[in-house]
């Protein structure tokens, strides 16, 4: 009785408008006002132009397995109902407007890691070499905890809040082409240790520890309840 699931559409989160929904659910990672958090900024015109609204909706609902991005949709055991997710998508959309010639959100071709490696040495090393100002993105633990899509997004949009330029300024002197972005992303993905494979689902152990289901792991059940 105490353990009945929430009747659908009734959310333990009371808020319905974007401002407070964002504050309560996203600010911890994506930063107050959508910038300066540990996770990528969302209040970024380039990012908003780049990521299609339906994809934003999917990510909010399902989270991203293996990364810290949790699932918020009730179908995934999260707290937010459809209306609240829609309000979030709409609010994020209002933070930007279309930009001409922006690279597509998903890669259209397969990347060439070798060309990616060369591009990386040319354009990224100055900030991302070991010991350089920002620090490596080629490190095994980091790559284990980031998704391929997340890597692509970082190359396209940069991190304006922390000083990484976007794709227009990353190729010394000119913009990165669609293919170059894909190559760079595939290069970084190719460095990811095979065993890790972006999932945290594997670490249930033979000793019989409770298995951590990755969907479950990223899904957060909010408590409206108090027993």
């Amino acid at each position: 009785m105490a353990c009945l699931p929430h009747p659908s559409n009734e959310s333990p989160v009371k808020a319905t408008e974007f401002g407070s929904l964002y504050e309560q659910n996203c600010a911890g990672c994506h930063g107050t006002d959508g910038k300066n958090g540990p996770a990528r900024p969302l209040h970024d015109p380039v990012f908003v132009a780049y990521m299609p609204a339906d994809q934003i909706k999917l990510v909010i609902e399902n989270g991203r397995t293996g990364t810290p991005m949790p699932a918020f949709g009730q179908a995934q055991g999260g707290p937010l109902n459809d209306g609240q997710v829609a309000a979030l998508v709409q609010g994020i959309e209002s933070w930007g407007k279309p930009i001409d010639g922006i690279p597509s959100y998903t890669a259209a071709t397969t990347g060439d890691p070798h060309s990616g490696a060369r591009l990386f040495a040319q354009n990224c090393f100055m900030c991302h070499a070991k010991g350089a100002a920002v620090g490596p993105v080629t490190d095994a633990a980091y790559l284990t905890l980031v998704s391929d899509q997340g890597i692509r997004s970082s190359i396209v949009t940069g991190r304006p809040d922390l000083g990484m330029p976007d794709w227009r300024h990353l190729h010394v002197g000119k913009a990165l082409s669609e293919q170059e972005i894909t190559d760079l992303a595939s290069y970084l993905s190719s460095l990811r240790p095979a065993a890790a494979n972006t999932t945290t689902a594997e670490h249930s152990s033979p000793t019989g520890n409770v298995p951590v289901n990755s969907a479950d792991n990223s899904a957060i059940r909010h408590t409206g309840k108090k027993q």
Partner: protein, 484 residues
């Protein structure tokens, strides 16, 4: 008729049934002990019988493995016909058992029934109380949901703080440094075989003592117990006012037991079973972890204590309480029995009940429970994120994602159950941080294998940056006060 009678007589001759009856149920008790105050002992026994019966039924379905315990309870709750009711009766039986047992103890205390010559009856009763609490605790763990997991991990970290032998004690409790498959098998064995066996043995002893030393007569003020004269006096009481327990004195016990049974069955039907409340996973902090009510007062006391008193209390309090309880019939062996002439005894009961009551209330409404929405709500101060490596930033995001923030503040916001982490790197080295996360400690749950190595690495690499500029990072040798 004659044959039947013959068979009956033959059976009686071989089994000594009549003799057994006169020696037990039919034994003579003081007529005035057939009082409403004397019904709690048999009530407790009834609860125990209910627990044994429902427990045996539950054991048919329950699977003591971390992977299946939860599912088997869900199965009982939802798929098995009346399975939920069985669980409900078992949990309510245990609540009532602890409650009625406490009343029994208070009554015995107030009526001076522990005095000469019934010292051992009291002592065996004290052990019965301990074992019953042991059953309550192990049973709560078998539920193996989030609450149970947290209760146990907090219990284990408290145990871990006992000086010198802490680590070994934790190992004994959990069958390893963290909660894993072996832990549950261990608790299952405790709950189903070991402790019940001991309880049954103790109950036999307890009842045997009630028979040999007799039931306490209803005390009258001024009627002092003297070692030299009491035995003769009790014999006299039995001779003049003795009635057989069955059928004369048992009436009120039966009525009370009947009411008790109805109360348990009704509570079970109305309030249902407890939990299971979500798969046990310390990375989902959506339960505010609280132990079942019998342990709330201990939980509250421990949470309220200043850190320096903790070791003292952890070590000292159980010893003191136990020695007081066990010693009571020996240092207060004779004299007045009636509560009317023992104001101190009455005062002790009132104060104890009040203290436990207040602590339980505080445990129930504790402000020190985690701040449930901090992880997604409270931002990390921007200064902590500038000039960090991408891995450190991921670590910061995982610190949020794994809900560490629900207990740990940064920049003054977040839960306050654990220490603020703003300068944690001045206190702990990376290794110590890893250990704190994997093994828990203090009131922090052990994350064990719940975090992948990469996640731990990321979180620790971020926490390593958490120190004000002018303060040096912790060195292994310079922080003696951490992690005893």
């Amino acid at each position: 008729m004659n044959t039947a009678r013959k068979i009956a007589l033959w059976l009686d001759d071989r089994l000594h049934l009549t003799a057994l009856f006169t020696a037990t149920a039919g034994h003579e008790v003081p007529a005035n002990s057939g009082s409403w105050f004397y019904v709690f002992g048999s009530g407790t026994l009834l609860c125990f019988v209910i627990q044994v019966i429902t427990g045996a039924c539950l054991a048919f379905v329950y699977i003591p493995s971390t992977n299946e315990a939860y599912t088997s309870l869900e199965y009982l709750n939802h798929a098995q016909f009346l399975g939920w009711y069985l669980r409900a009766v078992h949990v309510w039986g245990s609540n009532f058992m602890v409650a009625i047992m406490t009343m029994h103890m208070i009554q015995v205390f107030l009526f001076g029934a522990y005095k000469y010559p019934r010292e051992l009856t009291w002592v065996s009763g004290v052990f019965l109380l301990l074992f019953t609490l042991g059953m309550a605790f192990t049973g709560q763990v078998l539920r193996f949901d989030q609450d149970a997991y947290w209760g146990l991990s907090i219990g284990a970290s408290i145990t871990g703080r006992i000086p010198l032998i802490g680590a070994q004690m934790v190992h004994l409790l959990l069958a390893g440094p963290i909660i894993a498959g072996e832990t549950l098998s261990r608790f299952f064995t405790f709950h189903v075989f070991l402790i019940p066996g001991l309880i049954i043995a103790l109950i036999s002893m307890h009842l045997r003592l009630v028979l040999t030393k007799g039931i306490n007569e209803y005390p009258k003020p001024g009627d002092k117990v003297r070692r030299e004269t009491y035995d003769a006096k009790y014999k006299e009481i039995i001779k003049t006012q003795g009635v057989p327990f069955v059928p004369d004195a048992i009436g009120k016990d039966l009525i009370f037991s009947g009411l008790l049974l109805i109360a348990i069955l009704t509570c079970a039907a109305i309030f249902g079973p407890k939990g299971p409340l979500g798969v046990p996973d310390p990375t989902i902090v959506d339960t505010s972890p609280r132990p079942d009510f019998y342990f709330l007062s201990i939980f509250a006391a421990l949470a309220l204590l200043p850190a320096w008193m903790e070791v003292l209390i952890l070590f000292g309090a159980p010893l003191v309480v136990l020695s007081l309880l066990l010693g009571l019939p020996f240092f207060d062996n004779t004299g007045e029995k009636s509560a009317r002439t023992r104001p101190v005894a009455v005062l002790i009961v009132i104060v104890t009940v009040l203290v436990l009551g207040v602590l339980t209330y505080m445990g129930e409404t504790s402000p020190w429970s985690p701040h449930m929405t901090a992880w997604s709500e409270n931002p990390i101060p921007v200064a902590y994120l500038r000039h960090r490596t991408p891995l450190q930033l991921r670590g910061a995001a995982f610190l949020q994602n794994k809900q560490c923030r629900n207990c740990h503040a940064l920049g003054g916001v977040g839960g306050e159950r654990g220490p603020a982490l703003d300068d944690v790197a001045t206190r702990l080295t990376a290794d110590e941080m890893v250990r704190q996360i994997i093994q828990g400690g203090g009131n922090m749950p052990a994350y064990g294998k719940k975090l992948s190595p990469a996640e731990v690495e990321a979180i620790v690499s971020f926490m390593q940056t958490l120190r004000p500029n002018y303060r040096p990072a912790a060195l292994v040798s310079t922080n003696p006060e951490i992690r005893k």
